[in-house]
Amino acid sequence: MDMFSFIVAKANYWAYVILMMVGLYALIAKNNLVKKIVGMTIFQTAIILFYVSIGYKKGATIPIIQHGSGHSAGDDGAAHAIQETVTHASAAVQEAAGHASTGVQEAVAQSSAALQEAVAQGSAVLQEVAAQGSAALQEVAAHGSAALHEAATHGSDAVQAVNYINPLPHVLMLTAIVVGVATLGVALALAIKVYKEYGTVEEDEINQQLRNG
């Protein structure tokens, strides 16, 4: 059972090894040149599968940033979000400061009047002022931190590597696929030339002809 789960957990690697061996077997043991070429292609494809699976991550997505198009646009998006939150936050701070200053002014006027009028009432008024001011400041702080938090999550989305698969092996494989296609093309062209020369693509028959002639 352990063996089974071991195989299932790394199924992609097993698949690549099996494909590689199938290809290698065809490449070495087959008598027909076209079958050998097919084996060669399977062999190369196995390596491509290997590379693709080393770049893959479960639950991750392709490394393209949404709400933008491409690398620089992604950066723009993040910068934009940060700017937006900064303006948000500064507006909130201004508003709160306004609140607070009016509160303090009012309180000063009130308290001076109250002090002049009655000492007993003054402490109550001051308390009220303090409560008003601190509420305003709290509101500011809450506003600002929410905006900053939003900005932070927005901005860090662009660089959080955990959420994305590694694009490099896939890009490398684009090149390897091109190389594989080119090799296949040259091999088929050569096979046609061999067929024109000997009238067959079976290696033993060709060797027979070479020995006789």
Partner: protein, 526 residues
């Protein structure tokens, strides 16, 4: 301008290959000229790079499109790669110039395709040498291989089958290398060679690194035709057209050995390759097998081009064995032999091209009486042969000297024995050719049996036959008083140039080792 030299050295031939392919439709002579100019520019750039690197003593690092490593691809020209670059561009240039007539005859109406492939092949080799990125190396390896398959496939009627076998094995080799790079990437997360070299020493015990090393090495050994996986080489090289063989035979195996040195020394670091893995015994043993097998097989060949091809397999054994000795003498010998063997193989295959041009026959017996008929060519060939055997003051002697002293220093007496055995076998091989060519009378028979020989050649001989009274020394005089009937000057002069180069390389091998190769080997190796 000079700061862009590492890019120029590869981009010029790459673009020239594109232009040459199209220019054939406009002017039939243009592709050849474009190819020569591009290779010349490349050669001059690599000479300047070598001068710069030797002058400053610092490696030149070129960032492609300005991207910094390890993210971007860098081209790194150090002492070793600058030296190999000069060798590649020089060999490609001389071989192309020297085979101008053969190209015109063999690739009639295919000049564009041929020149394009020729330059593309060279560009691939240059890139392989200069790149500092493990995956970029794979791409360039495949560019080289694919253009090489096409060049070989354009050869004789048997060439497509031989090429297809080469293609199958070559693809296995390259794909193994790719797989190795994949594991290296999983383990380290990097593809930049310098970056890899800093990461690998921290994780020497990782089985993933070991697997990556083995599988990369296996891929490269297939590509360089080391003993158990050499099967593709003799067929491919002996069926190729002479000009393609003259390019591919000297360079492919040698540059792959360079890649082996680069991977084992720069990427995996000598501490890992020699210290941690103790790879010396296994690899030197394999090299000994390669040397003995290559030499003995060469002895069994009747065709001289097949014989030279088996000698290449033995020479690959020299270089791989020398490198894996793991001491300064052995590695110096291996690197020196990369240069010397490229020059020697070029000389041999150019000589083979001239023989084929004149006689149209590949068998050893067709060389009868050639000393009388083509004294200059044969003088050059003698020099090349003596260099392969290892007679001073030709360059073959000096690299063998380093290899043998390295073998003694490392206590690998089997390797020393194999080197001496191979030299003796080479002596037998070449003295047998000397005997045939010097003592046996020249016979005018080569052509009649070769109906599908080259047109130019028939023209040439046709002229000879049209004046039998003045110009018919062959049938009657049997070696004595044979009129000189040399190869055309455009073939002869570059060939003689290469043969003189063999002696020059030999005489200057001391300064090459102390001024260049010495700096190419990490200081930790004694």
């Amino acid at each position: 301008m000079t700061s862009h030299l590492p890019a120029i050295v590869i981009i010029v031939p790459l673009l020239a290959s594109l232009i040459a392919a199209g220019s054939g439709w406009i002017n039939r002579k243009a592709p050849f000229q474009i190819a020569v100019v591009a290779l010349f520019i490349s050669f001059v750039s690599s000479l300047l790079l070598l001068a710069q690197v030797v002058g400053t003593g610092v490696a030149v690092e070129y960032r492609m499109a300005g991207w910094a490593p390890p993210m971007g691809i860098v081209y790194v020209i150090d002492h070793l790669s600058a030296l190999v670059l000069v060798v590649i561009t020089l060999v490609a240039l001389i071989n192309l110039i020297g085979n101008k007539k053969a190209v015109e005859a063999e690739f009639k109406n295919k000049e564009g395709a041929f020149s394009s492939l020729y330059v593309l092949f060279t560009a691939g080799l240059i890139g392989m040498t200069a790149t500092g990125d493990a995956f970029n190396l794979y791409v360039l390896l495949e560019i080289t291989s694919l253009s090489g398959y096409a060049l070989i496939g354009l050869g004789s009627s048997r060439a497509p089958l031989a090429t297809l076998n080469y293609l199958f094995l070559g693809t296995i080799g390259a794909t193994f290398y790719l797989l190795g790079v994949g594991y290296l990437y999983i383990a380290t997360g990097s593809l930049n060679m310098a970056d890899l070299a800093t990461i690998i020493p921290t994780m020497m015990d990782s089985p993933m690194i070991l697997f990556a090393f083995i599988i990369c090495l296996a891929g490269l050994l297939v590509k360089m035709a080391m003993f158990p996986v050499h099967g593709w080489l003799p067929g491919a090289y002996s069926e190729a057209s002479t000009v393609s063989a003259g390019l591919i035979a000297p360079l492919t195996t040698k540059v792959t050995v360079y890649i082996l040195v680069r991977i084992c020394m720069t990427v995996f670091t000598p501490e890992y390759t020699f210290g941690h893995l103790e790879s010396t015994d296994i690899m030197v043993g394999l090299a000994v097998c390669s040397i003995v097998f290559g030499s003995l097989s060469a002895l069994a060949q009747k065709d001289y081009r097949r014989m030279f091809s088996y000698i290449i397999i033995a020479e690959v054994g020299y270089m791989v064995g020398g490198f894996f000795l793991g001491n300064r003498l052995g590695i110096s010998g291996a690197i020196l032999h990369i240069i010397n063997d490229a020059a020697m193989t070029l000389a041999l295959f150019m000589a083979a091209g001239i023989f084929l041009w004149k006689t149209g026959d590949e068998s050893r017996n067709s060389l009868k009486g050639l000393y009388g008929k083509m004294p200059f060519t044969m003088a050059g060939f003698t020099l090349a042969a003596l260099s392969v055997v290892g007679v001073p003051p030709t360059c073959g002697f000096f690299s063998k000297w380093y290899l043998i002293s390295g073998g003694i220093a490392a206590g690998q007496y089997l390797f020393v024995g194999a080197l001496i055995f191979s030299s003796l076998v080479n002596a037998v091989l070449f003295f047998r050719i000397f005997e045939i060519a010097y003592f046996e009378p020249f016979k005018e028979h080569h052509h009649t049996g070769d109906e599908n020989g080259r047109e130019q050649e028939d023209d040439y001989e046709g002229n000879a036959h049209s004046n039998p009274i003045h110009n018919d020394p062959h049938g009657s005089s049997h070696g004595h008083g044979v009129l000189i009937n040399e190869a055309p000057l455009s073939m002869l002069l570059p060939f003689i140039g290469v043969c003189v180069l063999l002696v020059v390389l030999g005489l200057y091998s001391g300064s090459i080792v102390t001024n260049i190769i010495h700096f190419a080997i990490p200081a930790g190796i004694i």
